[in-house]
């Protein structure tokens, strides 16, 4: 399935616009599902979603495995690991391990473990598109 990059205008009038591989995704929990978006991040080990999603969809954080993640600055932050179902627009629903994190800069990230593992991702930034094809 092919998707367009999403362009975000640069605040700097002399700067280039930012183009990002963003997809619409529905995340499912025991109580409800929420439609949101996620950024494909080949540099991220885990799929991450903001902690508030966990509470809203009914994830019991006490049953999650606690771990920590380190960002490019070296700061360590706690994450709550569990497995949820997600559905990317145009694709089948899948089960993925995710970490929930209380971070100002994370809404949703789709990383290597559990996502890139099972999907062939082709970035064609020069064409403004990227592809996600599940690996059977």
């Amino acid at each position: 399935m092919k998707y367009p990059y999403l362009t975000v205008l640069n605040n700097d009038p002399n700067g280039k616009h930012f183009r990002r591989p963003v997809v619409d995704v529905e995340i499912f929990g025991p109580e409800k599902s929420i439609n949101t978006f996620a950024l494909l991040d080949s540099g991220a080990d885990n799929c991450l979603f903001h902690l508030q999603y966990a509470k809203e969809i009914g994830i019991d954080l006490n049953k999650c495995k606690r771990s920590a993640t380190i960002g490019v600055e070296g700061g360590k932050m706690e994450i709550y690991l569990t497995e949820i179902e997600i559905k990317i627009k145009g694709l089948e629903k899948i089960k993925v391990p995710v970490g929930f994190i209380d971070s100002r800069s994370v809404n949703g990230l789709l990383g290597q473990i559990g996502f890139f593992d099972f999907n062939r991702i082709k970035f064609e930034r020069d064409h403004g598109t990227f592809e996600i094809n599940p690996v059977k």
Binding site: L6, N10, F18, N35, G43
Partner: protein, 70 residues
């Protein structure tokens, strides 16, 4: 670089700029902010009857972004 952008990108960029750090609910084309709040639950409580809305935390995507920079 060609700075022509589509409506979707313009709409999205406006939200990123105007609602930083908020949680928002928007239609698929980002054409309006149906609800906003400081928390996800705050937004969800405002859109109980609305369907097909996308909800997200407004993160600083209009600057150089390293999501690992948590």
């Amino acid at each position: 670089m060609n700075k022509t952008t589509d409506n979707l990108s313009n709409n999205f960029s406006h939200i990123i700029k105007s609602f930083r750090d908020k949680w928002v609910a928007v239609p698929e084309d980002y054409s309006e902010v149906v609800a906003s709040a400081d928390t996800l639950s705050g937004v969800m409580s405002k859109i109980t009857k609305e369907k097909n809305l996308k909800v997200f935390k407004v993160i600083p995507l209009d600057m150089i972004y390293s999501p690992c920079n948590l």
